[in-house]
């Protein structure tokens, strides 16, 4: 197999892997009817939280989607804390203090997660650089390659042309 073919196959395999790995966003389907909260702001905070908090015992479900026992308990707890007048940030703090960052679908930006957050941007930059390089190369004006015989013909023609104009 030629190197070019291996490269092409590898590229396709890479693209396919990327497709498979791209996670599906959590579905917006409640496992149980949403409870009523005292104010519209609290209602909003509560709904945002149960969308963004992960059900720890499920595979890729948030608290809203899941009907697992633990998810129901954590929904109840979230409801309780928000009704108490606590903010979005305070609930996030409460949950991550107990279950770790994994409980959040969106990991916080900090030293240990820097690689995670910067990787897409680095990948994008590298990709753009490669594309730019290829485009430049494709449209670059290349001097034509002449062999010895062709070069002689061309030189003769140039010489003759010079004689014509001078005479």
């Amino acid at each position: 197999m030629s190197r070019r073919l291996i490269g092409r196959l590898a590229l396709h395999a890479l693209l396919l892997t990327g497709l498979i790995l791209s996670a599906h966003p959590p579905r917006l389907m409640a496992a149980e009817p949403l409870p009523e909260l005292p104010t519209p702001e609290q209602q909003q905070t509560y709904e945002r939280l149960i969308r963004e908090l992960r059900c720890l015992v499920c595979k890729n479900q948030n608290l809203m989607d899941s009907n697992a026992d633990l998810a129901a308990d954590l929904r109840r707890k979230t409801h309780e804390i928000v009704t108490d007048g606590k903010s979005y940030g305070e609930v996030v703090e409460y949950m991550t203090a107990r279950f770790g960052n994994f409980v959040m679908y969106r990991p916080p930006v900090k030293a240990s997660t820097l690689a995670l957050w910067s990787l897409p941007f680095i990948a994008l930059a590298v990709l753009l650089a490669i594309i730019l390089h290829r485009v430049r190369k494709r449209y670059a004006v290349r001097p034509s390659q002449l062999d010895e015989a062709e070069r002689k013909v061309a030189e003769d023609m140039l010489r003759n042309q010079g004689r014509d104009s001078s005479s």
Binding site: R3, R4, I6, G7, R8, A10, L11, A13, L14, T17, L56, V57, D69, L70, D73, L74, K77, T96, A97, R98, F99, G100, N101, F102, A129, I130, L132, H133
Partner: protein, 186 residues
């Protein structure tokens, strides 16, 4: 872009995706060997969340305050938990050898079921705190019963294990740590 010599691209144009693919494959193979259930606990090194709960089978209460100045294990279990049965002989053994005090946290269970379960499989616990609602479970970040916490004399959590204990985990990690903590005390 200009940092990379042009010759690199010329030579490895077909090879670059191949290299990236290999790197990704290696990363995935490594990740495959990791246990996705194993999530590091943010509670290690922090104070054990306090509780004061009814003691199973009597009319007293059991609290974290009762265990102050002792090295102890907190074992979260329930009669509905199948994996608890598999680790239970190990806890019975620990208790018989009087190595460490074990407090049980009976998580989201029915008292009668819990008492019957202990009568059947043995009771290694000095106390069994009843957490029927699961609120204390949430404070301890419990999501996979059974879970076991090792708590030192200052009330700090020193070790946490999610899922059933095994002989290896006890002998290689928990028992040496208990020895160390007891030595530091004397």
């Amino acid at each position: 872009m200009h940092m990379i010599p042009k010759a690199f691209f010329k030579r490895y144009r077909g090879g670059l995706p191949f290299v990236v693919f290999c790197a990704l494959a290696v990363l995935l193979v490594i990740s495959l060997g990791k246990n996705p259930e194993h999530i590091p606990s943010p509670l290690i090194g922090k104070s054990a969340p306090e509780f004061s709960l009814p003691d199973l089978g009597n009319h007293r209460t059991v609290s974290t305050g009762d265990m102050r100045n002792r090295v102890w294990l907190l074992n979260i279990w329930a009669s509905w938990c199948a994996a608890c049965v598999t680790e239970h002989p190990l806890l019975n053994d620990l208790s018989n050898r009087k190595i460490v005090e074990i407090v049980g946290l009976n998580y989201k269970d029915v008292n009668a079921d819990a008492i019957a379960w202990l009568a059947r499989y043995g009771n290694p616990y000095t106390h069994v705190a009843v957490d029927a609602g699961g609120d204390i479970g949430i404070d301890y970040g419990v999501y996979g019963v059974p879970e076991t916490f090792l708590i030192d004399t200052k009330g700090l959590i020193r070790y946490k294990h999610i899922g059933p204990l095994t002989r290896e985990i006890l002998d290689d990690e928990i028992l040496p740590l208990i020895e160390l903590l007891k030595e530091q005390e004397t």
